[in-house]
């Protein structure tokens, strides 16, 4: 039985000390034939104990961003410029040994498919022990004890340490992965679509669990997903990503009630409501751009209902100039030419 505490997302933008700050992060995929810019100058800050949602569709760069912060980018992806600051220190370009200590202690990651993270031929307990002992000098016995504590933390009977991953249900495996991510009490946990592959009821369970743990242990979360409706319930703040850039960022309730960027508006209207009147929704016409050759100016302009030739000056800016993020309210930033006079 799992009961969740009801914690409503913070409406006020509380001033928190930032755990991690991304400054103009640029990530490219470099092949012999071309260079694709997957993340184009993203700046984002995540405060201590804050749940920040990163929403976007496939190809927008959100997973690449998560991997970049975690420093697990694989060739041909590379960080071209920008900084990732943890407690004021840039972690990009650190050497392997430092990185090893940085990873998992300061920031850990939960992936979409737990089976990608769990070794199918090792018992769950052994995987915990391996991981703990890779970072700390403890005896196997002590590591197992801590592993048991972690399992109970996520609501799994500690006897399951002896089970193999395939003996656990999908939801349980995902919780094991979350427990592993919390093993060293990191300051930040990056979650990349952790519940997408799970059924709706299990997803609800996991989300309630994450909220509980987060309140209890106080870690920050970067929750990457395409499911905006999920973030509206879970996150304190939400950033919307499109074609490698952040186009809007606001506290969750504000984003839901006063979205400013046309893409956000379109996204919000792509989720049919479960209650209330059923009107015909429009969605967003067209498809995300090819990042190897993005549209000039505002990357969303080919699909934007407000990009018309009616206002020639505005139109010229929309197709020629990239909009910058501007503050339009308390904790609310938008990158849209219509926001500037």
């Amino acid at each position: 039985m799992t009961l969740a505490f009801s914690v409503t997302p913070d409406a006020s933008a509380e001033r928190r000390t930032p755990v991690v700050e991304l400054e103009n992060l640029v990530v490219d995929y470099v092949t012999r034939t071309q260079t694709t810019r997957a993340v184009d100058g993203v700046s984002l800050s995540i405060g201590a104990g804050e749940i920040v949602g990163l929403a976007g569709e496939s190809g927008c760069g959100k997973s690449t961003l998560g991997n970049a912060v975690m420093q697990i980018l694989r060739a041909p992806a590379q960080v071209t410029s920008g900084r990732v600051l943890f407690d004021g220190e840039n972690v990009l370009g650190r050497r392997r040994e430092e990185l090893r200590r940085f990873r998992w202690r300061t920031v850990s990651m939960v992936f979409q498919s737990a089976m990608n993270a769990l070794n199918p031929v090792m018992r769950t307990g052994d995987q915990f022990v391996d991981m703990i002992r890779a970072h700390e000098r403890v005896s196997k016995h002590e590591a197992l004890g801590r592993a048991g504590d972690l399992l109970e933390l996520v609501g799994i009977d500690r006897r399951r340490l002896r089970a193999y991953p395939h003996e656990l249900s999908g939801g349980m495996r995902q919780r094991v992965v979350i427990a592993m991510a919390l093993a060293l009490r990191p300051e930040l946990v990056i979650m990349d679509e952790p519940t997408t592959a799970l059924d709706v009821v299990v997803q609800r369970e996991i989300l309630q669990q994450i909220r509980e743990l987060q309140t209890e242990l106080g870690f920050a979360v970067l929750f990457i997903t395409h499911d905006l409706s999920l973030l509206l319930e879970l996150a304190h703040r939400i950033a919307i990503m499109y074609a490698g850039e952040i186009v809007e960022e606001a506290p969750a309730a504000r984003l839901r009630d006063e979205p400013r960027h046309p893409y956000t508006v379109g996204l919000l209207s792509s989720f049919p409501p479960l209650h209330g009147p059923v009107e015909r929704l429009a969605g967003i016409p067209g498809s995300p751009p090819d990042l190897a050759a993005p549209p000039p100016g505002c990357r969303f302009h080919p699909r934007c209902p407000h990009c018309t030739r009616d206002d020639a000056a505005l139109y010229a800016r929309q197709v020629g100039e990239r909009p910058l993020l501007r503050v339009v309210g308390e904790g609310h930033r938008v990158a849209c030419h219509r926001e500037t006079p």
Binding site: V201, Q203, L274, H275, I284, S287
Partner: protein
């Protein structure tokens, strides 16, 4: 309105376990419903609930263990002759979940759409080209001539799914079964496909929309069937079922769906799975997770009861037998 496709007491068991301890997985158990022209019926459930197995039985990809499949009033479950099977296949088509997997990477869009036209003799070779173009226009893929010569990898996910829909429509079917057609598409593309499905109702096609997503089911469907552990647990018009669900599982499902409009409320979730059971014991399969469970729920498997006109549920508490008997003024058995 007479149903075009009806299933009665449809069941499927798979053998599981080994030689020494043979057991049977009751993947689908006593499923009965009807599809009517011009209506979209949603078949909702989580993974393992049996909804995909039902769909595959309707498409003759899996043979039912028992029960009837009535097409235009005639039981076709036992058909063997190629002529009968082909006629059924012409009229009962499918849209798959994976927009890339359901198209042959080695064939053009045109090749995909021409095959059903040729197999079922809809048009001759000369007219096939024009028919393909018309089909593409119907699903919103324009300019048709350009798209027709593309290969699947040259199209986006949403476009591929539209091609899959066009292929399903090519043979002028009376029934289209869509198995999670939007779950692998980007969020902003999904509405387009759902709108297309709504528009196709005009063609008097009967749709079966298999999904785990209640919100999209509400958006497109007229009726909904909720499946749990291989059984139908609730049935009725989609708005009514979602607004005032009878079965506790439906209530749990609705409460679990992320809905940005509500603030986070705590809900109690007990451990359990919607997946079908091996050798299930008598009694309600939801009993371990049900907040309303009473004694009889463990002893007797509840039956589908029409608690209110048009509202059917399988629950001793919310849709007890007496209510239906009372409705039909019959003495209790």
């Amino acid at each position: 309105m007479t149903p075009i496709l009806e299933v009665r007491a449809l069941s499927k068991q798979f053998r599981s376990g080994g030689l020494l301890h043979p057991s049977r997985l009751h993947a689908v158990d006593d499923v009965t419903f009807a599809l009517r022209p011009g209506r979209i019926t949603a078949l909702a459930g989580e993974s393992g609930s049996g909804k995909s197995t039902v769909a595959r039985m309707l498409l003759r990809l899996i043979a039912p263990s028992s029960g009837e499949v009535l097409f235009e009033g005639r039981n076709v479950a036992g058909d063997r002759r190629r002529r009968d099977v082909l006629r059924y296949r012409k009229h009962v088509q499918m849209i798959f979940q994976d927009p890339f997997g359901s198209l042959n990477p080695a064939k053009t869009v045109r090749a995909h759409l021409e095959r059903p036209l040729r197999i079922h003799g809809i048009v001759g070779r000369r007219d096939a080209r024009a028919s393909v173009d018309t089909l593409l226009e119907t699903v919103g893929l324009v300019p048709a001539a350009t798209v027709a010569d593309k290969y699947p990898h040259e199209l986006s996910g949403g476009q591929r799914q539209r091609v899959a829909i066009a292929r399903a429509l090519a043979a002028n079917p009376k029934v289209v079964i869509a198995d999670e057609p939007i779950s692998m598409l980007d969020v902003s593309i999904r509405i387009g496909i759902l709108n297309l499905m709504r528009d196709l109702k005009e063609l008097e096609i009967a749709f079966l929309y298999v999904t785990h997503d209640l919100a999209s089911a509400r958006y497109v469907a007229d009726d909904i069937l909720v499946m749990y552990a291989g059984q139908i647990v609730e049935q009725g018009p989609v708005d009514e079922v979602l607004a005032s669900p009878l079965h506790p599982y439906t209530r749990l499902l609705i409460a679990s769906v992320p809905d940005g409009e509500r603030t986070l409320e705590p809900i109690e979730i007990r451990k359990g799975t919607a997946a079908a059971a091996v050798d299930p014991a008598p009694g309600c399969r939801f009993v371990d997770r049900c907040p309303l469970a009473i004694d009889v729920c463990r002893r007797e498997t509840p039956e589908l009861v029409e608690a209110e006109p048009g509202r059917i549920a399988r629950c001793h508490v919310t849709a007890p037998r007496q209510r239906e008997d009372h409705l039909h003024a019959q003495p209790a058995a």
